[in-house]
Assembly symmetry: C3
Amino acid sequence: SKLCMMVVSDTDADSLMGALVERGFPATKVGSTGGFLRRGNVTIFSGVTDARVDELVGVVTEICHARKEFVPVQTLPFLGDGSFNAEPVEVRVGGAIVFVLGIDSFHRI
Amino acid sequence: SKLCMMVVSDTDADSLMGALVERGFPATKVGSTGGFLRRGNVTIFSGVTDARVDELVGVVTEICHARKEFVPVQTLPFLGDGSFNAEPVEVRVGGAIVFVLGIDSFHRI
Amino acid sequence: SKLCMMVVSDTDADSLMGALVERGFPATKVGSTGGFLRRGNVTIFSGVTDARVDELVGVVTEICHARKEFVPVQTLPFLGDGSFNAEPVEVRVGGAIVFVLGIDSFHRI
Ligand SMILES: Nc1ncnc2c1ncn2[C@@H]1O[C@@H]2COP(=O)(O)O[C@H]3[C@@H](O)[C@H](n4cnc5c(N)ncnc54)O[C@@H]3COP(=O)(O)O[C@H]2[C@H]1O
Ligand SMILES: Nc1ncnc2c1ncn2[C@@H]1O[C@@H]2COP(=O)(O)O[C@H]3[C@@H](O)[C@H](n4cnc5c(N)ncnc54)O[C@@H]3COP(=O)(O)O[C@H]2[C@H]1O
Ligand SMILES: Nc1ncnc2c1ncn2[C@@H]1O[C@@H]2COP(=O)(O)O[C@H]3[C@@H](O)[C@H](n4cnc5c(N)ncnc54)O[C@@H]3COP(=O)(O)O[C@H]2[C@H]1O
């Protein structure tokens, strides 16, 4: 088995949870915050058999579509210095990050 | 060492945290939500030596007891279609899921 | 790549997130609670290349400084018995715990 940890946008989280459960992927959702944009997002954990990891990544790819957005640099806490007249910064939103971790053992109690 | 990630019911979480700490298992608790029932539950992380993993699973087994519950199918967002007259669905509640993950290194700062 | 999971104090979390992002470490923050003191703390996940793990631990060491604090034993739910007249307990606060986990695969969607 593998533990998949997915970080997805707030807006995609519910439809992704729905799509996972519909296809028999158990999942657990945790509210989280991104470091760069400081916006709320969602972290989902799903323990799956090795054989189904690619299918799970496929479901995430179906639901989460990254696109570009321009954000005023003043809203980014870490680029602050001298940014008063700076141009807006182009960032990626709506994408997903998936970490696949090996599991030593799994217990259902 | 191993990192144990436990998903347990809301009602069991506090007594499990108490039992873990009493036996010298450090633990960190995070609020979470289940994918199928969409109910709040709790995810607990505990980093332990390899030698104590079985004892930790034993503590979870002492505290968390799964039982069956009938839920009206209308409350399950993913079984919706045509479920208007459907029978209640039997689901497992009160159980626990434990993932044991290998740790490359551990730092206490 | 490695997935680093850091448990840090509430007071250090924002400056640590800032320091990580400034140095190009992506990060995701989750609110959490410690098992022993039952106080709010913060769990931060950051997926990094193997080569940058030591640098990340270095950033955590720069920001998080453990110190000793005396807490009245009555505030500790697990030491309750007969503690009515007991001396305050010395505990460590402000430190950080870092777990470094191996990653099987990583997907940016
Ligand atoms: N130092 C920097 N300079 C310029 N642009 C930067 C940057 N750091 C992040 N970005 C951009 O901003 C988007 C949002 O990042 P945020 O940290 O708020 O939110 C992130 C974070 O919560 C999480 N994440 C991404 N990579 C991660 C990693 N390696 N470890 C842990 N969490 C990660 O996934 C969310 C979405 O990430 P995604 O890559 O799709 O999209 C990122 C990325 O394209
Ligand atoms: N597609 C489906 N069809 C029919 N019944 C289904 C189902 N998916 C889940 N169930 C049943 O519903 C219970 C609650 O699931 P839920 O997803 O809300 O809440 C879950 C979820 O948050 C977490 N969980 C379980 N397995 C997981 C896994 N492999 N990965 C991540 N989280 C998991 O633990 C909680 C309790 O799981 P538990 O197995 O004891 O109990 C589950 C299971 O018996
Ligand atoms: N049974 C016990 N008897 C006496 N003293 C005890 C104790 N359990 C914990 N302590 C002390 O209390 C501090 C706060 O623990 P707490 O569990 O609230 O908050 C912890 C917990 O949330 C997390 N943590 C530490 N070790 C962990 C582990 N192995 N697995 C998961 N979380 C851990 O990091 C926070 C800070 O830990 P840190 O070690 O710096 O500091 C700990 C530790 O020095």
